[in-house]
């Protein structure tokens, strides 16, 4: 049976179309979910796409967290539903306390848009099991508020538990602490990533096909393949 992967559209989402397309190219059926609809329509996994939900008012992701669909996603994620938050989706996951820490204004204050090398630090999550630990991938990064911060104890805990999923290599684009580009929750089903794997799934439009691995990982995870 084809896996069904939900992609949420908030007011101000930008990359929901690309995320749905990446899901389809990975071999799953994308299901568009609406922020105002608390129903998940039986999806097997969820992607929170990039963009500027609610215009980034107050703080990025702060208002989206209270959308009806998020209430359901928070419960489902705590029950093991694979959830990937990309860029604004990562910000929403932090605001919803599904992931620790917060994303703040890039230290240099510039919006940064470039192809970025990442090192996959943890291949044990629902969204990275198609990679080898230590593998380097090339994925576009584009953010203004992508600087990951958390207190030292939280950072140490993330490192100790293998929950830093990816790090920036060859230059940190936003000042993130410890070059963190992606993290996961304790169970490994919720991943937040600042760069955009959904923009690296086709030779025509991306710098590589490396982004596809995040989506095929979820499919592998869903059929119960060992990470």
């Amino acid at each position: 049976m084809t896996a069904r992967v939900g992609v949420v559209t908030f007011p101000g989402s930008l990359d929901d179309g690309d995320a749905a397309r990446a899901v389809r190219i990975a071999g799953a059926e994308p299901v568009r979910l609406w922020h105002g609809d608390a129903e998940l329509h039986g999806v097997d996994a969820v992607v929170l796409p990039g963009g500027f939900s609610y215009g980034d008012y107050l703080r990025c992701g702060a208002i989206a967290r209270f959308a009806p669909v998020m209430e359901t996603i928070v419960d489902a994620a705590q029950g093991g539903l694979p959830v990937l938050g990309i860029c604004n989706g990562f910000q929403i996951l932090c605001e919803a306390h599904l992931l620790p820490g917060a994303l703040t204004r890039n230290q240099h204050l510039h919006f940064r848009n470039r192809d970025q090398v990442l090192r996959i630090e943890s291949a044990g999550t629902a969204w990275t099991n198609a990679f080898q630990p230590g593998q380097e991938v090339l994925i576009p990064v584009k953010n203004g508020e992508g600087c990951y911060v958390a207190d030292t104890a939280t950072l140490d805990q993330l490192e100790a538990e293998g929950r830093v999923v990816a790090r920036y290599v060859g230059g940190n684009p936003n000042g993130s602490q410890r070059d963190i580009a992606a993290i996961t929750n304790a169970a490994g089903n919720v991943v937040g990533i600042m760069p955009h794997p959904e923009h690296a799934v086709e030779a025509l439009t991306g710098p590589s096909l490396d982004g596809l691995g995040f989506f095929t990982s979820a499919l592998k995870h869903l059929v119960g393949a060992p990470a």
Partner: protein, 87 residues
């Protein structure tokens, strides 16, 4: 009608690049004696009935501030005081 004012500031240990950018611009105004600038947010809340500080605190904690990176204070001000603060 009195209002509740919520002030939200980044925690001292969190870098404030926006404040730094403003501080770096001050010498262009001829101001050379400012050591640092930190930028926060002020939110004024008007209740339909009596102002409720506990409720305001709850709103601040859940939505207006992100306790991971920000601190907040909640206080009551009279309407004219609010106007003074604006002038």
């Amino acid at each position: 009608m009195p209002r509740v004012v919520v002030d939200v500031m980044l925690k001292p240990e969190i870098l404030d690049p926006q404040g730094q950018a403003v501080a770096n611009a001050l010498p262009r105004l001829g101001v050379g004696d400012v050591a640092s600038v930190r930028i926060g947010r002020r939110i004024e809340i008007e209740f339909t009935g009596e102002p409720d500080l506990d409720r305001a605190r709850e709103i601040a904690d859940k939505l207006l501030a992100n306790p991971v990176i920000e601190d907040f204070t909640v206080r009551l001000v009279e309407a004219d005081e609010t106007a003074d603060a604006r002038s």
